[in-house]
Amino acid sequence: MSSNRTWSSDPAGRATVHAGRWLGLALLLLAAGVAPVRAAGIGDLVEINWVEQAARFFTFQDATVRYALLGSILLGLSCGLLGSFLVVRKMALVGDALSHAVLPGVALGFLWNLSKDPLAIFIGAMIAGLVGTALVSAITRTTRLKEDAALGLVLASFFAAGICLVTMIQQLPTGNKSGIDKFLFGQAAALGPDDIALMGTVTGIALVLVTLFYKELLATSFDPGFSRASGLPSRWIHHGLMLLLAAAVVIALQAVGVVLVSAMLITPAAAAYLLTDRLHRLVLLASAFGVAAGVSGAFLSFVGPSLPTGPLMVLGASFVFGLAFFFAPRHGVISRWWRRRTGAARTRRENTLKSMFHVWEAGGFRAEGVTLTELAEKRRETLEDAQRLGSALVRHELATLSGDVLYFTPAGKQRAGEIVRNHRLWELYLTNSAGMAPDHVHEDAERIEHVLGETVVRALERRLDYARVDPHGRNIPTPREIHRDAGLTDESKRRERP
């Protein structure tokens, strides 16, 4: 620890040391389950086990717990709500800059009457945040620098000034008891009734304004130019949103800390972005995720060893994002992988059916079944492979296997006919209409045959004048033949051309 000790005059460093020391232990303790842990400052310093501690948390015995929990819910809600618009407007970095820029304001607000008066700190922080954003837009307007450079510049310089001011405050006679260092990494336990009142007010105002001006927020986020041209007050909406964001950042500071508050704005909204394609659902989901992250952060910080609340909240939000990243139904990594996999399996089955059809066709459509040996020969594979492919068809009820002979089911026969037709139609289309050489078209048709829909097939047939023979001189099965072979009813024939 001696290498770390040099840092301990700096509040950020102290928290790091704390976190580092307890992190390893925390994992051990969580594994042990019942080992005694120290309440994370939210409770008192009694040694009790985590089950009791969890019970204390959920029964809200202590006022501190109530305030911490309420505060976490409010900040999760406001950050998720407003962060949604930040993400869809591609202004995520603005949130980061804003949260760092407020620190000097926090310090000045504290210096106003040398106490942690929530209102003075709120006003100081708001002013600093707005001066910061104004500087960013001034830099982008008057120089050739782009917004990202301006944001980085303002973020760092304001944060540096803030750190210096905070350190100065801590060196004051009363400073080290001030709790001003809590603003860096956040501690929900430090929330008092005044803080909660302020957080409630800000969150309430944000909720009301977003509901009232949702239409304008949507339009200006999607297409600012059109919105201005149709007379919507785009600029006011933008400034209003920035003001609300600054307020949300400031009320979240004490619980999450300056360094991580932007993560509470961005992470829940980013997770929601992966889960839905509509803005109103995105906003609702992001708010819910924000609340969930806030509550889980407060809970873990209370039950677990003394880890700061802020990072735990952010980890909670990141966990939600991780779930969305992997499991989102449409945009998730796993579901995309699963779709690809099932698509590949279907293609394999269809190729097997096609091979069966070819064998059947070569035999003049006489032999009803196709032996596994024939299939293996046709596909130039081993008998084991043919067996595997055959049982895949059986599983999907496209064929039945008796002994070592595969028989088409009606569905299997129809699909086989369709695939062969698609393949040959596409080859014909490429040679006739796209002017490709007949020996160039097979590879392409191998891929296309699996994806052609019925409407495209109909269009192709019309285009090719219902041709019956493919470029290699083979018969193209017609819908009539396919249906007849599949043994389907007359019902399905009525859709055919006369």
């Binding site: 239409k215 304008e216 297409d223 130019g225 041209a229 509509r278």
Partner: protein, 256 residues
């Protein structure tokens, strides 16, 4: 419709970083016309329509629509921005985007109601996109996206339309469908200014042409304005000098 011109521009100068892009533009547009704005890249075509609607700061001059400044008549003006100007991954449906055409008339605090939805549906019908109403806009082809913007403009029910390259990136069938809609709007007495970049079709599509290259080269009925000399002057600059030199060289006796 009032006797006032739908669009009157007087000595309009627009500059980016003090470098003028449009220079002393004067223009009085008659009502009920389908007008093409053509000119080379960087001629200020988009700049002109954006400046008219106050989307860009104007250095000097003024613009009046129906005899009033734009802000007073914004609800009578419709706009089709360039397709590239928005993020098509944005989480909205086709219907949501078309409804945005109603926002200007609704004003603050009012939500689009049943009548607005009905109108939006009929606008989607007109551009043959009704089956796509509930799709997210990313799941559309370029031509369909362009038609979404057109449907949104239709929903604005404006008397004066500005359209920025509504034909860019669309196939021939979509282009025909779009021009049919534009002509229908014109026949209803509305005025349309359309930025266009294809000369041969410009001649077929538009009643009048505005030839623009930093200032107005010519403005008038297509038959009068679509002349080699005027087009040459519009697309001129270096090209003109080059072609003049080439012509002079061609007129010389070949050295034998």
């Amino acid at each position: 419709m009032s006797a006032e011109s739908p669009l009157e521009i007087h000595d309009l100068t627009v500059a980016y970083h003090r470098k003028p892009v449009l220079w002393g533009v004067d223009l009085t547009v008659p009502a009920g016309q389908l007008i093409g704005i053509i000119g080379p890249n960087g001629a200020g075509k988009s700049t002109l329509i954006k400046a008219c609607m106050g989307l860009l700061p104007v250095q000097s001059g003024w613009v009046k629509m129906f005899g009033q400044p734009f802000a007073k008549v914004a609800t009578r003006v419709g706009y089709v921005p360039q397709r590239e100007s928005v993020d098509w991954d944005f989480p909205v449906s086709v219907m949501d985007v078309v409804l945005m055409g109603r926002y200007g008339r609704l004003g603050l605090l009012r939500r689009p109601g049943k009548a607005d939805r009905e109108l939006a549906r009929s606008c989607l019908e007109k551009v043959q996109l009704l089956p796509y109403a509930n799709r997210q806009i990313a799941n559309l082809s370029g031509g369909q996206q362009q038609r979404v913007f057109l449907a949104r403009a239709l929903a604005q029910q404006a008397d004066l339309y500005f359209m920025d390259e509504p034909f860019s990136g669309v196939d021939a069938a979509t282009e025909a469908a779009i021009i049919a809609v534009l002509r229908e709007l014109r026949d209803q007495g509305r005025t349309l200014l359309v930025v266009h970049h294809d000369l041969p079709t410009a001649r077929q599509y538009f009643d009048r042409l505005l030839l623009l290259n930093m200032n107005v080269v010519a403005f008038g009925p297509t038959s009068e304005v679509y002349t080699p000399e005027l087009l040459q002057r519009t697309y001129g600059g270096r090209l003109t000098i080059l072609s003049e030199v080439a012509q002079a060289l061609g007129a010389q006796e070949p050295p034998r």
